[in-house]
C-alpha cells in the first residue's frame, strides 16, 4: 500500500519537529555570550580567535598559562589533559580563567560565587579528565563500544571534558551533554555498573 499524501506530509512535519527540537546550537545557550558587552558582540570570539582566515581550535589567549599542567583528578594515572579539557578549564576551573581576549577586562567567569567547576586541583571531587580510558577493567566497557556511535569521543584514547560535554550545545541536552542522560545512559556508556 502506498503511503497517502497526508501520511507523507505528517512524517515530514514530525521529522522536522523532532529535528528542530534535537538540533541545538550555541545560539541562545549558556555559552552564547554575544549580548554581553565584554564579548565583542559575537558568540565565537570568546573562545576562538581568528589570527588568520581560519578559526583555530587552539586559542591564543593567556599565553602565560601552563597548558601542560596536570589538572586535579581522583586518579593517579591522570596525565596531561588534552585540548578537549584545557579549553574548558580556561574558564571553568575558577583559578586561571581570565577573559584575556579581545582586550576586555580581566574577570573570572566561573568561581565560587558562580557554582561550577571550581575545585580543579582538589582531586576527588571531579570526574577525572585527561586520563587514559581504562583498557582492561571489568568496570568499564571497551573503548571501541564507547565510541562506536560517535556520540561519546575519547580523543587520543583519553577521557576529556569534551567526551561528555559539547560546548556548542548541538544536542541541546541539559549541562550541554553530548547525549541525553536519561536512565544515566551517558554514564553507562562507559561504566559497566
Amino acid at each position: 500500500m502506498r503511503p497517502s499524501g497526508i501520511t507523507v506530509c505528517f512524517c515530514v512535519l514530525a521529522f522536522a519537529a523532532i529535528g528542530g527540537w534535537a538540533l541545538g546550537g550555541i545560539e541562545g545557550s549558556k555559552h552564547d555570550f554575544s549580548n554581553q558587552d565584554w564579548s565583542g558582540g559575537d558568540a565565537c570570539s570568546v573562545c576562538h580567535t581568528a589570527t588568520s582566515e581560519e578559526p583555530t581550535a587552539t586559542p591564543l589567549w593567556d599565553e602565560n598559562a601552563d597548558l601542560n599542567r596536570t589538572f586535579g583528578t581522583p586518579l593517579e594515572q591522570s596525565k596531561r589533559a588534552g585540548m578537549g579539557t584545557i579549553i574548558c578549564l580556561r574558564c571553568h576551573d575558577g583559578t586561571i580563567a581570565r577573559d584575556t581576549f579581545g582586550g576586555a577586562e580581566r574577570e573570572r567567569f566561573v568561581n565560587r560565587e558562580h557554582p561550577g567547576l571550581h575545585t580543579a586541583g582538589h582531586g576527588t571531587s571531579e570526574h577525572p579528565v585527561g586520563v587514559d580510558y581504562p583498557r582492561i577493567d571489568r568496570g568499564y566497557r571497551p573503548a571501541s563500544s564507547v565510541t562506536a556511535s560517535g556520540t561519546v569521543q575519547l580523543p587520543d584514547g583519553k577521557v576529556e571534558c569534551s567526551s561528555c560535554h559539547d560546548p556548542h550545545n548541538m544536542s541541546d541536552q541539559k549541562y550541554m551533554l553530548v547525549m541525553s542522560n536519561t536512565r544515566s545512559a551517558l554514564c553507562l556508556t562507559c561504566h559497566r555498573k
Binding site: P74, P115, G116, L117, H118, T119, H122, G123, T124, S125, E126, H127, C164, N181, T182, R183, S184, C187, L188, H191, R192, K193
Partner: protein, 600 residues
C-alpha cells in the same frame, strides 16, 4: 545457497549470544536492580520524576571529597556498634564506603537529598527515607555483622577461626586501611546473586571465605541434604535454599538485624535455632520432645545467660544446646547404637565443646563425655543439688568420680573391685562406663530405643535412662531397679552372690538400692575405704543411727572381700556390728546373660 547457509549459521550462533548478553546485562547492572531508584526503577522505593540512575549516589562534578564522586552527605549518626564476648577484633564506628551505604541504609537520611540539589529541593521519592524493614539497618549496628575493624594478620593470628587475610578471595575487597566494610561483601552495582552479594551465600561460600570454623567442612550442618523448604526461620522470613547444606550458616545466623545480636542468630532464644529443625520435620530426631519430658536439660528455661566465653566455675546456672554441642562441628555419631565401653570419649555430636577434666582443669575441647558434664555438675558454683541426703554429702560430681576414691562407678577410670561379681558381659571389673550409660533419654538408640542418644530428657527422674526407684518400701521387680539391673545381673544380686543379704534387704524388706549405695561414688576427701567401700553411703532419710556404747552411730565397716558389718537402725531393726561374709561368691557365678535391653 552458500550465502543463505552462512547467514543461517551466523544467526543461529548469534541468537544465544544475544540472549545471554541481554540476561547478563539485566543481572549484572545496577539498571533495573533494587538500587535503580530512578522513576523507572523496579522497586517500590523510587523517584517520582528523576530518570537518572547514578545521581542518587554519584555526580561527575562538585562531589563530596571522597571517592568515588560521591553525591551524598555522610550521616552524622553515632552508631551502636557490634559487641561480642568472643570477638578479638577492635570494632570502630563505620567509616569510608560503609558510611556511604549508611547514608541511606541507617534510615535517618532522606533518600532524595543529594549534594547537587539544594536541601530545599531534594529529589522527590516515593518514600522519604528507607522504610522499616530488612534494608533499614537503623543506627543500632550491634545486631549486624561487624564492620570497621581491621582484618589483618594480627587478627587472624589471635582468632584461629578467622582465615589469614592473604588467602581471602580477591573478590572481597577490604577498605583503604584493610578494614572490613559493607562493600567487602556487597557490590552495590551488581545484584546478580541477590542481596548485592559479591560471592554467593549458597553453601556458606560467602561466610567461609573469611570464617574457618573448626570442623565445619565435614560437619553435619555443612553436609546435610535434609530439606528445609518453606521452614520459617524468622517472622515472615523463610530459608533461602532447599536444604541444610545449601543454607549453611544462614540456617541459624542472620547477618543483619539479627534477633540475637551478639551471636547474630535468627532467634532470640538460643535453643529455638536448634529446635526449629530438631523437632521432627527436618532433622532425624525430635529433641524438642525429649526436652519436654519429666526430667530434662531444660534449654528453654533461661535465655541470654549462656556465653561461649563463660567461666564454667562461676557462670550463672543455665543449660543450652550449645553447652554440649558445637553446631559448627557436630557430626553424626557413627557408633550411636553401641554403648558403654566404646563410648567414653566424645563423639561426633559433641566435638569441639569445652569441658572440665577430672582433675578440675578447663579444657577447650572436652576429650571425654564426663568432661562435658563436669562443666555444670562439677565445681560450678551453680551446680544442681542432689536428691538424697547422705552420710557423706557431696554435690560436686567431679569429686565423686575421682579414681582415688574409696569407691566410685568407673567413669573417669577403671576400678578393679573383687566384689563386682554381678556385672553382665561385656562389662567386667576394669570396664569403663560413661555418664550417659545411666543418664540418657529413655528412648536413646544406645539403650535400644528409637530416639537420639544423649541426656536430653527422660520420663524417669534425674534424667535416668531407666526406672530407678528410690522410695523406701518399693516392691522389688525388674522394672523397679531397671537402671541397676541393666549392668548388674538381677539374678546375681538377688541370688546373694556378692552381699549375702541383698535379697533379704531388697525383696523382703523392700529397701531400694539407693538407700545403701551412693551411685556416683564417695569422695576420698570425706571418706575412707573402710567405711565407704562398695559405694556404701547411707540415705539418712531411711537409715538411722543405732545406740551403741560409743554413742549413736551409723556406720559400715569393710572387713575384706565380700565381708563387712553394719551398725545402724533401719526399718525398725537395729544392727550393732552386724557382720556378714560371703564365701560362696566367685567367678563361676559372676557372669550371667541376664538380658533386659535390646542391645546385649
Amino acid at each position: 545457497m552458500t550465502m543463505r547457509r552462512a547467514t543461517g549459521w551466523s544467526m543461529s550462533a548469534l541468537f544465544p549470544v544475544m540472549v545471554l548478553a541481554v540476561v547478563a546485562l539485566a543481572d549484572e547492572s545496577i539498571v533495573n536492580s533494587k538500587h535503580d531508584l530512578s522513576m523507572r526503577g523496579p522497586g517500590p522505593i523510587r523517584a517520582v520524576h528523576e530518570d537518572e540512575i547514578c545521581v542518587f549516589c554519584h555526580t561527575p562534578h562538585n562531589a563530596a571529597p571522597q571517592t568515588p564522586l560521591w553525591n551524598r552527605a555522610n550521616p552524622r549518626t553515632f552508631y551502636r556498634i557490634y559487641e561480642s564476648s568472643t570477638t578479638d577484633a577492635r570494632i570502630d564506628q563505620p567509616s569510608g564506603p560503609s558510611k556511604m551505604c549508611l547514608a541511606c541504609h541507617d534510615g535517618s537520611m532522606a533518600l532524595g537529598n543529594v549534594l547537587t540539589r539544594p536541601d530545599t529541593h531534594p529529589i522527590v521519592m516515593t518514600a522519604r527515607t528507607i522504610p522499616p524493614g530488612s534494608a533499614d539497618l537503623s543506627s543500632d549496628l550491634s545486631d549486624d555483622h561487624p564492620i570497621g575493624f581491621r582484618y589483618d594478620r594480627a587478627l587472624s593470628n589471635v582468632d584461629r577461626q578467622i582465615r589469614a587475610p592473604e588467602i581471602v578471595s580477591v573478590k572481597l575487597p577490604l577498605g583503604a586501611h584493610r578494614e572490613m566494610q559493607c562493600t567487602t561483601c556487597h557490590d552495590p552495582h551488581n545484584n546478580e546473586l541477590g542481596d548485592f552479594l559479591r560471592i554467593t551465600d549458597e553453601m556458606s561460600a560467602m561466610c567461609v571465605a573469611c570464617h574457618d570454623m573448626d570442623g565445619w567442612e565435614v560437619s553435619s550442618h555443612a553436609m546435610s541434604g535434609k530439606r528445609t523448604m518453606g521452614r520459617v526461620v524468622d517472622p515472615g522470613e523463610r530459608l533461602k535454599y532447599a536444604n541444610v547444606r545449601d543454607n549453611g550458616c544462614m540456617s541459624c545466623h542472620k547477618i543483619h538485624s539479627a534477633p540475637h545480636p551478639e551471636r547474630l542468630l535468627r532467634f532470640e532464644r538460643e535453643e529455638e535455632g536448634c529446635l526449629n529443625c530438631h523437632s521432627g520435620g527436618v532433622a532425624n530426631f525430635n529433641i524438642a520432645a525429649d526436652i519436654g519430658k519429666r526430667a530434662s536439660h531444660e534449654v528453654e528455661r533461661r535465655t541470654g545467660v549462656h556465653d561461649p566465653a563463660e567461666n564454667p566455675f562461676t557462670m550463672r546456672r543455665h543449660v543450652e544446646c550449645v553447652d554440649c554441642h558445637n553446631p559448627h562441628s557436630v557430626r553424626h555419631n557413627p557408633i550411636g547404637t553401641v554403648r558403654g565401653t566404646f563410648g567414653q570419649t566424645v563423639k561426633g555430636p559433641n566435638l569441639n565443646v569445652p569441658g572440665v577434666a577430672i582433675s578440675g582443669g578447663y579444657r577447650n575441647e572436652a576429650m571425654f563425655v564426663y568432661e562435658l558434664c563436669f562443666k555444670c555438675h562439677g565445681d560450678s558454683t551453680s551446680r544442681p543439688r542432689l536428691n538424697t541426703s547422705r552420710q557423706v554429702s557431696q554435690t560436686n560430681v567431679r569429686l565423686e568420680f575421682q579414681v582415688s576414691n574409696p569407691s566410685f562407678h568407673p567413669v573417669a577410670g577403671p576400678r578393679r573391685s573383687p566384689d563386682s561379681m554381678s556385672l553382665i558381659s561385656p562389662l567386667r571389673p576394669g570396664s569403663i562406663i560413661t555418664c550417659t550409660d545411666c543418664h540418657n533419654s529413655d528412648n536413646a538408640r544406645s539403650m535400644g530405643g528409637s530416639g537420639a542418644n544423649g541426656p536430653h530428657g527422660s520420663m524417669f527422674e534425674s534424667l535416668l535412662v531407666r526406672n530407678y526407684e528410690t522410695n523406701d518400701y518399693t516392691t522389688e521387680s525388674a522394672q523397679a531397679y531397671a537402671l541397676c539391673y541393666g549392668c548388674h545381673s538381677r539374678e546375681s544380686i538377688l541370688g546373694d552372690e556378692s552381699f549375702p543379704s541383698h535379697r533379704r534387704h531388697i525383696v523382703d524388706f523392700q529397701t531400694p538400692c539407693n538407700v545403701c549405695h551412693d551411685p556416683h561414688g564417695v569422695y576420698r576427701g570425706q571418706a575412707n575405704s573402710v567405711n565407704h567401700s562398695n559405694l556404701i553411703n547411707f540415705d539418712l532419710s531411711v537409715v538411722m543411727p543405732a545406740d551403741t556404747p560409743e554413742g549413736r552411730r551409723t556406720v559400715y565397716e569393710d572387713t575384706g572381700t565380700l565381708s563387712g558389718s553394719c551398725t545402724l537402725t533401719c526399718h525398725g531393726f537395729t544392727h550393732i556390728g552386724f557382720p556378714y561374709a560371703n564365701s560362696a561368691g566367685g567367678s563361676s557365678a559372676r557372669v550371667r546373660n541376664y538380658s533386659m535391653g535390646a542391645n546385649r
